[in-house]
Amino acid sequence: MVILNFLIAFSPAIKKINEFYPALFSLVMCLQFISMVGVWYMKRWGVELFVASFFAKDILSVCMDDFSFTSVTFAISVVLIIVLLFYYRSMDRNL
C-alpha cells in the first residue's frame, strides 16, 4: 500500500496541487515505509515513526486542501495505529 502510495505521489493529479507537493508527499510515504519495516521487526521506533508520519501526512494534506476524513487510507491508518499502540509495550526498545 505504501509503495503504491509512493508511486501515486508522482501522479500528475498530485503535481497539479502544488509544484513541491509530490516531493514532500513522497518523503512522508518513504517514512511510512521505513516505519512499516520497524513494525515488522516489532520495534517501538516503527510505531513512533508511523504515528509521526501519519500526522505529518495529514497536516500536509490539510495545508494543501487535499484532506478527507472519509478516505480509505485515513481509516486504515487509524485502525493500524490503534492496533500498534495496543502492542506497543511488548515491542523492542532498541534500534
Binding site: F6, L7, F10, S11, P22, V37, L95
Partner: protein
C-alpha cells in the same frame, strides 16, 4: 563531530563498494535512469507545451470574445446543419456593439482570404490577407510592429490602399531589403507597405500565423472581395473592460446580438460566442491523459529499478556479511552499518536519477536547437532528484536494516 565522521566513513565505504562493482552498479541503476527520464520527459513536454499554450492564449486574448458563425468546439451530437444557414457577423453589428455594449473596452471586425502576394518578380503564396477595422490592434496582441507604423484613422475611414505585412512575407518578397514605402501587389491591386510585424511564429491554439499575413484596412479590402461569400471567414472581436469577466461580457453580447438580429425569445442564437479558453481546455484534458500515461510508464520503470537496487543491495549485504561481523566485533554500532548500506543504495539511485535528468537536459537542448521551445523547469529537476533519493532509501532500507541486525559472531562465521 563524531556523527559527521561516521557519516564520512559510511560514505567512503559505500563509494568503494560501488567502484569495486562497476558493471553491476551501472546495470542496476539503469532502471532508475529510464524511469526518471520517462517521468521528467513527460512533465517537461507538458510544462513546455502548457507555457506555449498560455502564450498563445495571451496572444488570442484571454478576455476577448470572438463573435462568429461557427463555434470553436462542438459536443458529441454536433448539429452542423443548424450552423450552416447562420448569417456571418457584419461591420454594422460591430458598430451596434460599440454603441451599446458597456462591458466592452474595444471591438474590431476582421475578414480575409488566402492569396499570393507579389513584388516585381518575387511572390509569396498562401498568404493570409486580412481586412481589419481600426481598433484591431487594441483588441488583439499579435499586431506587433517591428518597422513602420499602424494605419491612421483616415486610412481606415477612407479605405486607403496600405498594408502591414508579416516578417516572412517581407523576407520572401524583399529579401531583407528596405520594405517601407514599397508597393506590393495584393488581390490584384497595388498596395503601399507601411509596416512590418515582428516575428511571432505559428500559434498552436489557432491557425493564425502573423508571419505569413498581410493586414489592410477593412474599407479597402471589402472593395476587393465578395463580402457575400459564405466561405469567407468574418469575425467580430470584443475585448472586455478591466474588471469585467468573460461570462459578463458574453451575457451582454448575447443580448445585443439577439436584439440586433431581431431574434424572438423562443429562437436559438444564430451566432457563436467563442473564447480562447474553450480551445485551451480541450488541450488541457489531452495533456492530462498524456501525463497519466507517462507517469504509469515511468512509475513502473522506477518500481522495477527500485526492486533491482534492493536485489543488488541484498547481494551486497550477503557478500560483505563477514566484513560486517568484523566491523561489529570491533565496535561498529548498528546505525553505522545501517547508514553504510543506505548511503550505498541512495548513491546508486541518485546517480541513476542524475543520469536520467542529464539525458532529459540533452534532449531539451537538442529540441531547442530545432525551435521546439522546451523548458526543463527547476521543480522538475528537483522532483527527479527527490524521486531517485527516496527510491534509493526505500529499496536500500530493508537490506541495510537486515545487515545492521546481524549477530557479529554468526556474521564472521559466514562463508559466502
Amino acid at each position: 563531530m563524531v556523527p559527521l565522521q561516521l557519516f564520512g566513513e559510511s560514505f567512503s565505504f559505500a563509494v568503494k563498494a560501488l567502484v569495486q562493482n562497476k558493471l553491476r552498479s551501472i546495470l542496476s541503476l539503469l532502471g532508475i535512469t529510464i524511469g526518471i527520464f520517462s517521468i521528467i520527459a513527460v512533465f517537461t513536454f507538458i510544462d513546455s507545451f502548457q507555457l506555449s499554450l498560455q502564450k498563445d492564449v495571451n496572444n488570442l486574448g484571454s478576455n476577448v470574445i470572438y463573435v462568429e458563425k461557427w463555434p470553436w468546439t462542438f459536443g458529441k451530437d454536433y448539429p452542423w446543419w443548424k450552423y450552416w444557414d447562420r448569417p456571418q457577423p457584419t461591420m454594422n453589428e460591430m458598430d451596434f456593439i460599440q454603441k451599446k455594449c458597456k462591458s466592452a473596452e474595444a471591438s474590431a471586425f476582421t475578414f480575409g482570404t488566402n492569396s499570393t502576394v507579389e513584388y516585381l518578380n518575387s511572390s509569396v503564396d498562401n498568404v493570409s490577407v486580412n481586412g481589419i477595422s481600426d481598433d484591431y490592434n487594441h483588441v488583439v496582441n499579435w499586431v506587433q510592429i517591428d518597422k513602420g507604423r499602424y494605419f491612421t484613422p483616415n486610412e481606415f475611414s477612407s479605405g486607403t490602399n496600405v498594408a502591414i505585412i508579416g516578417c516572412d512575407v517581407a523576407s520572401g518578397l524583399f529579401n531583407n531589403q528596405d520594405v517601407i514605402g514599397k508597393y506590393i501587389k495584393v488581390l490584384g491591386r497595388k498596395v503601399l507597405v507601411v509596416a512590418v510585424m515582428k516575428k511571432q511564429g505559428e500559434s498552436k491554439l489557432s491557425n493564425i500565423n502573423m508571419d505569413v499575413s498581410v493586414l489592410m484596412p477593412a474599407n479597402f479590402e471589402r472593395t476587393l472581395l465578395d463580402m457575400h461569400n459564405m466561405w469567407m471567414p468574418k469575425v467580430l472581436l470584443v475585448k472586455a473592460k478591466e474588471g469585467v469577466t468573460n461570462a459578463q461580457l458574453i451575457s451582454e453580447l448575447r443580448g445585443i446580438m439577439r436584439s440586433v438580429r431581431e431574434l424572438k425569445p423562443e429562437q436559438e442564437d444564430n451566432f457563436a460566442l467563442n473564447e480562447s479558453s474553450m480551445v485551451s481546455k480541450n488541450f488541457t484534458s489531452l495533456f492530462d491523459i498524456v501525463a497519466v500515461i507517462g507517469w504509469v510508464i515511468g512509475g513502473f520503470s522506477i518500481l522495477v529499478g527500485g526492486i533491482g537496487i534492493a536485489n543488488i543491495m541484498f547481494v551486497s549485504v550477503k557478500e560483505r556479511t563477514s566484513l560486517i561481523g568484523i566491523q561489529k566485533s570491533l565496535g561498529a554500532k548498528n546505525y553505522f552499518i545501517l547508514m553504510q548500506f543506505i548511503i550505498e543504495a541512495i548513491l546508486l539511485s541518485l546517480i541513476g536519477g542524475l543520469l536520467g535528468i542529464l539525458v532529459d537536459g540533452t534532449a531539451v537542448l537538442i529540441g531547442n536547437a530545432n525551435d521546439m521551445g522546451l523548458v526543463l523547469t527547476f521543480s522538475n529537476v528537483m522532483l527527479g532528484i527527490t524521486i531517485s533519493v527516496l527510491i534509493g532509501l526505500i529499496s536500500g532500507f530493508i537490506p541495510a536494516y537486515t545487515a545492521s541486525q546481524l549477530d557479529p559472531v554468526e556474521a564472521i562465521r559466514s562463508t559466502y
